[in-house]
């Protein structure tokens, strides 16, 4: 399917961008995220350091903060969200903590979340994935490349103080403007491409979950029946908080509930999901050409984030046991 899409791209006019359609969904999240980070900015106005290991540095009410580490050398004049800092450790290892959880050790110190809590992962696979992210950093720590760590921090801290129901509601809002439900009427080749690539996934989810979604060329999008919403709400309610955090993250990245479900249910791979999400952009790239500093950067970042989200959901929702069979003499 992947190679088939690339071979079918033909020259046409401009279509509708994926990103502009979902600005309304981003706005609520942006307000919450801005308020979250504004607290950390207030902290940094007083301390000018963000440190993952110190005791509650993230309390906005605390003004007397310790400065155990050297100040940042990058952008020290401007108070902004810290995205890079100097590497301050050599070795990364994991250890068992309380309640069967796993902890990350940077040299001799335990990793903490931005909220000041002790960083714990529910299983070894997730802990090793996070440890590997910290281990791969070179001279500077690039937090924007540590997607698994970010997801774990979000699940542990819950900085926007959302309950499971609120996360489910936010995730299902994307269904009303799902990417693969929004179709164009022209050019004909793009219409054909959308039908060929998006219809199979839509049919799969409608058959598999016994729901009605449909597609639309209307600017308001398809009418989603309440029964469909209830079915998905019930299904999402079966996930635990960590898995739900990851699933909502995948939905937000792909701008599609249908594609996220297809990915998590292992019907499509990460590359296929990203390609289907960016179908219109790939179509325009095929006609107008590829701009490496925009298109490729967007593509690889989206793939990395989506892969991290899918892995996070997989690790958070699995539980594995080993049963040994007795050898018979």
């Amino acid at each position: 399917m992947y190679l088939g899409i690339l071979s079918n791209l033909r020259s046409v006019k401009h279509g509708r961008s994926r990103s502009c359609r979902d600005a309304m969904h981003c706005s609520e999240m942006c307000v919450e995220i801005q308020s979250y980070f504004s607290k950390w900015n207030l902290v940094r106005l007083h301390s000018r350091v963000g440190h993952a290991l110190s005791p509650p540095i993230a309390c906005p009410r605390s003004l007397a903060l310790k400065l155990p580490l050297p100040l940042l050398s990058v952008n020290s004049k401007y108070y902004s969200i810290i995205t890079e800092r100097k590497k301050f450790y050599e070795d990364v290892s994991i250890s068992h903590g309380e309640g069967g959880m796993f902890e990350i050790n940077l040299d001799q110190r335990k990793l903490k979340t931005p909220g000041g809590k002790l960083f714990t992962a529910p299983n070894e696979a997730l802990a090793i994935a996070v440890a590997n992210e910290w281990d791969t950093q070179k001279d500077t720590l690039k937090f924007y490349s540590m997607h698994m760590t970010t997801l774990c921090n979000t699940a542990l801290d819950n900085p926007t103080f959302r309950s499971k129901d609120q996360i489910i509601t936010a995730a299902l809002k994307y269904l009303e403007t799902d990417t693969i439900c929004y179709r164009v009427e022209e050019p004909p080749s793009l219409v054909e491409l959308q039908n060929n690539e998006w219809d199979p996934v839509l049919n799969w989810i409608e058959d598999g979950y016994n729901v009605v979604i449909g597609s639309s060329t209307n600017i308001l999008g398809p009418e989603i029946p309440q029964a469909t919403m209830n079915t998905f709400r019930q299904h999402l309610g079966s996930y635990n908080f960590w898995s739900l955090t990851g699933l909502e993250y995948v939905i937000t990245q792909l701008k599609s509930v249908v594609l996220a479900f297809a990915l998590i249910d292992k019907h499509i791979t990460v590359e296929q999901a990203v390609l289907l999400s960016r179908l219109e952009e790939e179509f325009q790239i095929g006609h107008w050409g590829n701009v490496e500093w925009a298109h490729d950067v967007d593509l690889y970042e989206l793939r990395a984030r989506t892969a991290a989200g899918a892995l996070f959901v997989h690790f958070s929702s699995e539980s594995s046991t080993v049963k040994r069979r007795l050898m018979q003499d």
Binding site: T136, H147, Q272, D296, Y300, A304, A307, L311
Partner: protein, 130 residues
Amino acid sequence: IQSLSSPLCLCQGILRGIRAIKGPEYKHSLAYNYVLDQFCKKQITGERYCLAQEEALYASHSYLCLLISTRQHMALYDIYHGKGQHDTEEMAGIVGLRLPAQPGGRAGRSEGREKTLIPHQRVVKSSRWT
């Protein structure tokens, strides 16, 4: 999923990704030992169809995608991302201007005009700036 690679290709791909990140000492890393252990463990089954094996293959494929995409994204980021704001002197130097040695300058004139390198404009020599 039909498009998933074979377990051997996935395992080799992940280990290659770890080696590209860690360098020659990749065999001592946590991820290397864990990945090898998982791939060996999932083979030991007498069942004809093992769900755990399918899930492990899928997780491996996703992890390989994560490793490759992160590396490629960071490579492009290092090439194209802005390096931050230059200071005033560097910015002036980029367009061929020089900062004044003392503030104020001559009355009725701006400091930069006398040092512009635009050919059609007359360059006025001033003893203050030589």
